[in-house]
Amino acid sequence: MRTLIQGGWVVGFQNGHHAIIEDGVVVLEDDAVLHVGPSFDGTVDETIDAKGKLVSPGWINIHAVANIDIQTLGLDASQPAFTSPRAYAVDNVGDVEFTGDRLRTSALFSVVELLKGGATTIVEISTMAPSRFEVPRDEAPVLAEVAGELGARIYVSHKFRAGKRYMDDDGVMKYHWDEEAARNAFEYAKSVVEEYEGAYEDRVRTMLFPYQFDACPAELLRDVKIAAREMGVPVHMHTSQSLFEFHDCLRRYNKTPVQLLDSIGFLDERTILTHLIYTTAHPASGFPTGDISDLRLVADRGANVAHCAVVYARHGKILGSFSRYREMGINVPIGTDTFPQDLITEMRWAALACKWTDRDRNRGTAREVFNAVTVDGARALGRDDIGRLAPGAKADVVIVDFTPLHIGPVDDPIKALVYTASGTDIETVIVDGKVVVKEGRVPGVDESELVRKASEAHMWQKGRFVGQNPTGRPAEVLFPSTYEVM
């Protein structure tokens, strides 16, 4: 089966980088790219007309929330009302996580939304806050199944940790530790790798995901990395997300998080550190100005930093900076990490926030952020068959409609994409040669019904958070509404 896509602007891959072919073509044969160039002389079975549109390699969402995102409840609020009470964290009383039908709704909704947001490769992360020491054990299998059937390319994992934060009766934040629980969950996580790696025509892959650096003992992390090397899968972990975590690590180990991870052999090309905001180089870290030793270490080891600008900007925080990390030789792929999971908006904010941070309009460029969601994402996953349109690469394609008014006259298609478009302009998404988003919709899915069910699940979870909040504050205080509701 051969499909020819007649662009608009085709983003081909030539001489080791992307290159623009105006009115170019891409020819897909089964699950791979056959040809990219100004024209094609051979025969084809089907043609997709993408004139006036951007034909891009599929995008890699390196940190994609794969459940209905509770974080949005905390928008505009200073103290997200997601604190667990002692009874919940220590005694397992209460339940705020999705199970059964809600879990399935959550998985389906997330994968649909991710595909529509341009992710042909989804590196999933589920929000751990509502769960105990690990996410529900059927979460990764459900995601693998839903994504597999919808035709997505996904990396699934079972997340685990040894520590859970809660608020005691005096309002003091504490960790409840259970290393045995973490070890059991780690064993299960390995079985998920064994069972799902390569499933669904190899569209489903796996990784190991100790959830948070500060919630995992160093010995556990060392063993996780050894296991990942043996199993040949990447490791993904939240690291240096908050100043508290940074200083807690200094206190406990007399090392920064990066130094500690390096000392246990955790850092290499197959490690993805998500966020990594706070290092010796951060102005609020307390380290001397100009101390970039942590960043050097990350660059030398080849570890990847997953960057999620929007979710941090919503808190008034940002990496310092996307371009600076890259210039130091660190690979910095991009992920959404919050709702909505629109990779175009995410690229835009990675660019804008970087310019502001660096006081430099020539940093945080469209080129850098586009590379981040394509070739750099692929590199973080150890792959050279995705994130590019070149013969032999996977047939993963995103087509963006450039005809709406807000796109305007196009001088440079990549700048137009990054600075003027949004996820709603994504018209077609192809994964492994199959169309998974057509005319902006996922075929076979009743999206209105899905939105209704997802909204119900979201509001159910909000109710559970309010009911269990240890402060006893009502919903309108914990999650204030923008305006009074009549």
Binding site: R314, A351, G408, D411, K415, A416, S422, S455
Partner: protein, 494 residues
């Protein structure tokens, strides 16, 4: 004829603020809203089912660049010296022939493109801000009447002005910059502007309004500012000016007057509730300036005067520049309005940028609230125009209504929790479904009615081509612009 919009989440207006009315009703007759709330049971000639949708006041685009903006082209690849400081212009030699380049019909296409995009994405009112470099603006799109007719044909509520100033900033080929003084040009432009304002205010059943626009604080002599202020009082119109937009301007004014740009305007007697101060970024509170961190003198001056700050975060974020900050200004008592000073003219995108940049600059998740940016896009814009009949859905207000489709996978669950947060943090201008201006439906199902979108797009592309060619010729001696402004990726090698 009574028209009823029902079933949607309505943003109503009670006790001087917006309220959320789930499953609410909006009724309008002619160009006026007659009912907002629940329980309307009378007959209606037309009923619109807005279930799953947000029904909100039309957005007020208080500083709309009147055309396709060249910024995107220079994006990521600009000269550092003054572009980084916020100003964005080509270095045009003084002897360049102004008659070469886009024709008046090209400029008209560019302006129509801006208006059509703004209306399509939820703006019902705009304040016109032409890109103006010291030559007379009059005649750019044809005669004065042509300009008004063009706006009338689009159907938006438009605030129009012929800008003027007593000189201009000129970049020279060696990279230096000078402020050229041409006071007579300022007076001449002023006279034309007053005549224009008097002639067209209230045209098209009041949809066309006028204002006076001495263009830039650093390029207007004090006498011209004073005369503008007096003329505005006589005409009963508002005033707009660019001020404190970039660092070089700031230091030029310090050097010239020993005052900050804001203090200069204040001492001239220009400030007041009828004045809109565009950008107002480099005030004493800005961290790039050498004032103590607690020095809010300029912010206090603005707040005391009652003037509005017109805030356009997107165009500056692209340069790495931000106002410090929307919330700080709002909470100091300054009315803030929003505008799209660049392509795309999408107020939803602008609201999100206003929110996120305020949070970033304040290092605070409770800065740049959805409430604050939505207020700015509605009530703030109305306040700047001295009106209480737009920017809100209330009986007696104009029937300027926008309906946004919330029933979508990138919005739905957040909308179930809070429709305004969903709008600001999740939606795009593209999600606007219906736009009604002055009781007339202009956008339905996301398409402009009776409008040839493809033809406009072609005309705008042609304008862009000619403008680029003209800039290459006039500014860069005919060398290709890509030599100066590197594209994101190179062309494919054949």
């Amino acid at each position: 004829m009574t028209k009823l919009i029902e079933g949607g989440t309505v943003i109503g207006f009670r006790n001087n603020q917006h309220v959320i009315i789930p499953d609410g009703q909006v009724v309008y007759e002619g160009n006026q809203i007659t009912f907002v709330g629940r329980g309307f049971e009378e007959e209606a000639a037309e009923r619109v089912d807005a279930r799953g949708k947000l029904v909100m006041p039309g957005l007020i685009n208080h500083h709309m660049a009147f055309g396709v903006h060249m910024q995107l082209f220079r994006q990521d690849a600009a000269r550092r010296n003054y572009f980084t400081s916020g100003i964005g212009m080509g270095v045009r030699p003084p002897d360049a022939d102004p008659s070469v380049g886009p024709t008046s019909s090209d400029w008209a296409a560019s302006a129509e493109y801006a208006m059509a995009t703004a209306m399509r994405t939820g703006s019902t009112t705009f304040v016109m801000v032409p890109n103006y470099g010291g030559h007379p603006y009059r005649g750019r799109v044809g005669s004065d009447q042509d300009l008004v007719d063009m706006v009338a044909a689009i159907g938006m509520r438009g605030y129009l002005a012929l800008p003027y100033m007593s000189g201009g900033v000129r970049g020279k080929p060696d990279g230096t910059i000078e402020w050229v003084k041409r006071p007579e040009q300022g007076w001449d432009g002023f006279e034309q502007a007053v005549e224009f304002a008097r002639r067209f205010d209230g045209a098209e059943e009041g949809r066309i309004r006028t204002f006076l626009f001495p263009y830039q604080a650093d390029n207007c002599i004090p006498e011209l500012l004073k005369a503008s202020k007096e003329a505005a009082a006589e005409l009963g119109c508002t005033l707009k000016i660019h001020v404190a937009q970039y660092l070089l301007e700031f230091y030029e004014m310090i050097g010239r007057t020993a005052k900050t740009p804001m203090q200069f305007l204040n001492d001239v007697g220009f400030l007041g509730p009828e004045v809109s101060l565009t950008h107002s970024i480099f005030t004493t509170s800005h961290p790039w300036l050498p004032y103590p961190v607690w020095d809010d003198t300029d912010i206090e001056i603005i707040a005391d005067s009652g003037a509005t700050v017109a805030h356009c975060p997107v165009v500056f974020a692209r340069s790495g520049v931000a106002m410090h900050s929307l919330s700080r200004y709002v909470r100091a008592g300054i009315p803030v309005a929003l505008g799209t000073d660049t392509t795309p003219h999408d107020m939803v995108m602008e609201m999100r940028a206003a929110s996120l940049m305020s949070k970033l600059t304040d290092n605070d998740s409770t800065s740049g609230l959805a409430r604050e940016v939505f207020d700015a896009a509605t009530l703030g814009g109305a306040r700047a125009l001295m009106r209480d009949d737009i920017g809100r859905l209330a009986p007696g207000a104009k029937a300027d209504i926008v309906i946004v489709d919330l029933d979508q996978t990138h919005i739905g669950p957040v909308a179930a929790d809070d429709p305004i947060k969903a709008l600001v943090y999740c939606a795009n201008g593209d999600d606007v479904d219906t736009v009604i201006v002055d009781g007339i439906k202009r956008v339905e199902d996301g398409e402009l009615l009776d409008f040839d979108r493809a033809a406009l797009r072609e005309r705008a592309e042609a304008f862009n081509e000619r403008l680029r060619a003209n800039v290459a010729e006039a500014v860069y001696q005919g060398r290709p612009l890509t030599e100066f402004y590197e594209p994101a990726f190179p062309d494919w090698e054949k």
